[in-house]
Symmetry: C2
Subunit: 324 residues, 2 copies
């Protein structure tokens, strides 16, 4: 049975609560607008997967350092800043079922609030007095922006290959999960830094592939965004890439027509989703996710036995199970 993230987090609940207080403290500022944006962001806080990874990684050698909590807060704030800018760029109205900052305040506020959260997170990181986590997290931030710019630069979405896709989700998603595990390692599990980094990267690949599958299988309650949105926005993800390889020209033509239409109808979207399903796109994506999940589980198996490495293995099951 797929574990709930809540259950995995239960033994670490106290640490996670401290992470949330840290996040609040870090973005505190004496400007009323910032207070309102901050309160809204904290209320739409997600499952805290990344801070959980930081705390778990820091416990792997059974000697977690207190600064793991601050590092976890910084990682989640960097993630939040990225989400705020992504929503601004995509003009998204909802995130996790709540209004986005751009919808609730304005586009302008979301651009600058994202900058503010990111800069405050880094200032906090500098306060810890260690260059290594700063190096990891600024490098990853640049990598995430490159990923996003690659996506914005796609002119022929249907020529987007599986290699392009791997590069994209590696930069956009796996990089920060990997960094979360790596900075966790810096706070008490330095001997396992490389293994934890590898674990995080594989986990991130699973996470994004499953997320992209859910856009086809339609679990709006899990993702907090409507199913079919990627397709509507002409975002080509692994299920479609894999299915296109199996399509004959008539099916392919239907997909092309969708991508040439300015505002596709629901019927068109459903038809293409069906074609993706019929041509094994979801099946293929599931296999690739399973491969990355095995790599993550293998990495977790190389860590010292204990409740932290156990929990990391369970996180893999949780992430895989989200689509089922």
């Amino acid at each position: 049975m797929t574990p709930e993230l809540r259950e995995i987090q239960a033994p670490f609940r106290k640490g996670l609560d401290r992470v949330a207080s840290e996040m609040r403290r870090i973005v505190l500022a004496d400007a009323p607008l910032i207070a309102r944006v901050g309160a809204h962001l904290m209320s739409m806080r997600g499952k805290m997967l990344r801070p959980t990874l930081v705390l778990l990684a820091s416990e792997v050698e059974r000697k977690p350092e207190p600064r793991a909590v601050s590092l976890a807060a910084v990682v989640e704030l960097i993630h939040l800043a990225t989400l705020v800018h992504d929503d601004a760029v995509d003009h998204s109205a909802l995130r996790r079922g709540m209004p986005t900052v751009n919808a609730m305040f304005s586009h302008q506020v979301s651009v600058i609030a994202g900058d503010f959260i990111y800069a405050r997170a880094l200032t906090e990181l500098v306060g810890l007095g260690d260059l290594e986590p700063i190096e990891i997290l600024t490098r990853v931030s640049a990598e995430m922006s490159v990923g996003e710019l690659r996506q914005l630069g796609i002119t022929h979405p249907l020529r987007f290959s599986e290699d392009d896709y791997d590069l994209l989700i590696g930069a956009k998603t796996a990089s920060l999960m990997s960094a979360a595990c790596e900075v966790g390692a810096l706070a008490g599990a330095g001997d396992n830094r490389e293994t934890l980094r590898t674990f995080g990267r594989s986990l991130g690949m699973v996470f994004q592939i499953v997320d992209d599958m859910m856009d086809y299988t339609g679990h709006a309650d899990t993702t907090g965004k409507p199913a079919g949105l990627d397709l509507r926005e002409r975002k080509v993800t692994l299920p479609l890439i894999a299915a296109l390889r199996e399509m004959r020209s008539s099916a392919r033509r239907e997909v092309e027509m969708l991508f040439e239409t300015d505002s596709p109808t629901d019927a068109q979207l459903q038809r293409v989703a069906q074609l993706v399903h019929d041509h094994g796109g979801l099946e293929y994506a599931r296999e690739r996710a399973a491969e990355h999940a095995r790599a993550a589980t293998d990495a977790a198996g190389r860590l010292p036995q204990g409740r932290a490495s156990d929990s990391l293995s369970r996180v893999v099951h949780y992430v895989v199970g989200r689509h089922s």
Copy 2:
């Protein structure tokens, strides 16, 4: 006579050219869209005032360190990232007489490209292996965002006071000029760090007040943006704040009407600009700029005598003279 910035920069031209190459190297990435955005930004590069400050500050004790060049490049890139986001937020079409990134590419690209430039600049900074400049520049970045958010949060522009204005331009403009001088000090002039920081802050205040005056006096060729733009966008700056204090109710009513209109006419804008002039708003702003300029010149006078401190004094004259 007001010196040209070019003349002041002449003896440091070689260093500045190296700064430009550094900037190009830092934002290099293997994504075609980034290359295009980067090339556009480099072509619209401004007068390189901030890098000039870094180089001059580092020379004050006649033993500048080579890393001053990298620090100068990072400071200018942070400035560029801020401009790209400001233009995105303001939907500006022109900057320095050239199309902005949002006009030339898209709003989305400008948000993410700004993030990218900022993250790459910080990665470079981390590579220098010194926490101090990172501490200064991340703190200033947060301060600039707070300033911008304060401005976005103004609901009653005509109640905006001179204290509010000082706080705003201190955060938005003076902070980065001050940081430019301070990180320059870290690269060879550590004994004068405090004086250089003070110099930079005063210079930044002059710079912004003069910039805001030019919106009334109309030197579009100097600012690269049309005169009267601030007023059109309901941005209240020092000349108007000062003039409002002297206005009787009839004049005040005309200003209020402009601020209540959705799209003010050119005649309305000209009329309010005239009122600001007639009620001594520009005169008052000029006096305040002169006070800050004296503070900057005094600070420069406390530095060791030499070509670097001479040049810093000349920079003050240049900045003051921009409006005349």
